[in-house]
């Protein structure tokens, strides 16, 4: 039974009010148990088990001494937001998805902003290889690292650079050796 804010009535008989008051106390107990340690144990009651956040249509107002954590949809996906004090600009804390399978050769996470941080490794890619990172954002930074270089007989620069950084893609370039060599190339990219 849901909580009734209009009981007891002055003219209600006691037998009626008793059931209504009991129902309200039970409703309070059950509602409080959502997200919170249940009423009763004095060492934990009032603390939280979790925070399940319902989506908010508007950013909550914050006073000079308040900050807020809340859920707001980006397109159709609810995301976590933080609003600093005094109604400063809200900051999106999460991205709608994440891919951090440790066995995957490409992974991505996010940082507040949100910015998406991409990582990946290519096994002996040819110079000129185009890399498209997903989910697509506009890349703001790309850095490359070379590992496990096996050289040929010629002097070869083992330094690889990203070129043609545009949208969600970049091109791996390195000095093409006169004879065979191989290398693995790791990338770290950040986009928003």
């Amino acid at each position: 039974m849901s909580y009734n804010t209009a009981i007891p009535q002055a003219a209600s008989k006691r037998v009626i009010s008793q059931k209504q008051i009991k129902a309200n106390f039970t409703a309070i107990f059950n509602a409080f148990a959502k997200n919170h340690a249940k009423l009763g144990p004095t060492d934990t009651q009032g603390k939280h088990n979790m925070m399940i956040l319902r989506p908010q249509a508007l950013n909550p107002a914050t006073s000079p001494t308040q900050a807020a954590i809340y859920n707001k949809k980006v397109a159709t996906i609810p995301n976590l937001f933080y609003r600093p004090s005094n109604n400063q600009t809200p900051i999106q804390m999460t991205y709608p998805s994440i891919g951090v399978n440790p066995n995957a050769s490409t992974q991505y996470s996010f940082v507040a902003g949100p910015f998406v941080v991409y990582t990946g490794v290519l096994i002996n890619p040819a110079s000129g290889t185009v890399v498209n990172v997903l989910p697509a954002t506009t890349l703001r930074y790309v850095g490359l690292g070379v590992s496990n270089f096996i050289g040929g007989t010629s002097i070869v620069e083992t330094h690889a650079i990203p070129t043609n950084i545009a949208g969600n893609s970049f091109t791996i370039r390195y000095e093409v050796p006169l004879s065979g060599s191989s290398r693995n190339i790791f990338y770290l990219a950040i986009g928003n």
């Binding site: 009991k22 106390f25 603390k47 399940i52 994440i98 941080v117 070379v146 496990n148 050289g151």
Partner: protein, 218 residues
């Protein structure tokens, strides 16, 4: 303001045959207990200035598993995490339920502590990314470190996913890299090797490199 000294909240009072004198004490006890419980983590119900119902802080009791979320909802909670033989309580975020993206994301990782005494030629810092990624960064001078080695402390990186070294004042000497695991399943060090064809001696002259290494810890 503190509430009265009372027993535990009773959700099934008043009884149908209780006298009003009994019920009055029960009501007082429940209102007092509710007041005390609500005052923890929340602005008190009778606060004269702040808004009752707002949170003052959030203490998250450790959960065995993440809560179910409905479409439109997400959640924050804490959960026990055993990692590299260390058991800690970490913060988790869970996407909305009912969709493929409704999985949980580890937001914090291990416990923050200083990597310890800085080895010669090394300034090493680290932070975390959601999902259990760790980002090492800093400055290293390989000519001053033991065996051209960069230690990835804390030693919780299971897979190196990306790295980049940028020579501070001597471009073109960026090293190639070999990973080493001195502990089972953990990448503990990165060993730098001079670029092929370089004849510089020592292998790395007194050059400082800005470095960044991104690894997975799960």
């Amino acid at each position: 303001m503190s509430g009265p000294n009372i027993d535990e909240y009773d959700p099934i009072i008043p009884g149908p045959n209780d006298f009003l004198a009994v019920s009055q004490e029960d009501f007082l006890a429940n209102f007092g207990q509710l007041y005390n419980a609500f005052a923890r983590n929340h602005v008190a119900l009778d606060h004269a200035v702040l808004t009752p119902g707002n949170h003052t802080n959030i203490e998250l009791l450790q959960q065995v598993k993440g809560p179910e979320t409905s479409v439109g909802e997400n959640s924050l909670y804490s959960k026990k995490l055993t990692q590299i033989n260390q058991t800690t309580t970490q913060l988790f975020f869970r996407y909305q339920g009912g969709q493929a993206a409704g999985k949980e994301v580890q937001m914090t990782n291990y416990q923050l502590y200083s990597p310890g005494t800085q080895q010669l030629g090394l300034i090493s810092l680290f932070t975390y990314l959601p999902g259990g990624l760790i980002l090492y960064f800093g400055i290293v001078n390989f000519s001053k470190t033991n065996a051209n080695t960069l230690y990835l402390a804390p030693f919780i990186c299971t897979t190196v996913m990306a790295f980049n070294f940028t020579a501070k004042d001597n471009p073109g000497n960026e090293p190639t890299i070999v990973f080493h695991s001195e502990r089972p399943g953990i990448v503990t060090t990165i060993q730098a090797q001079p670029a092929f064809g370089r004849t510089l001696f020592p292998a790395f002259p007194d050059v400082e490199y800005y470095f960044v290494v991104l690894g997975n810890t799960t």
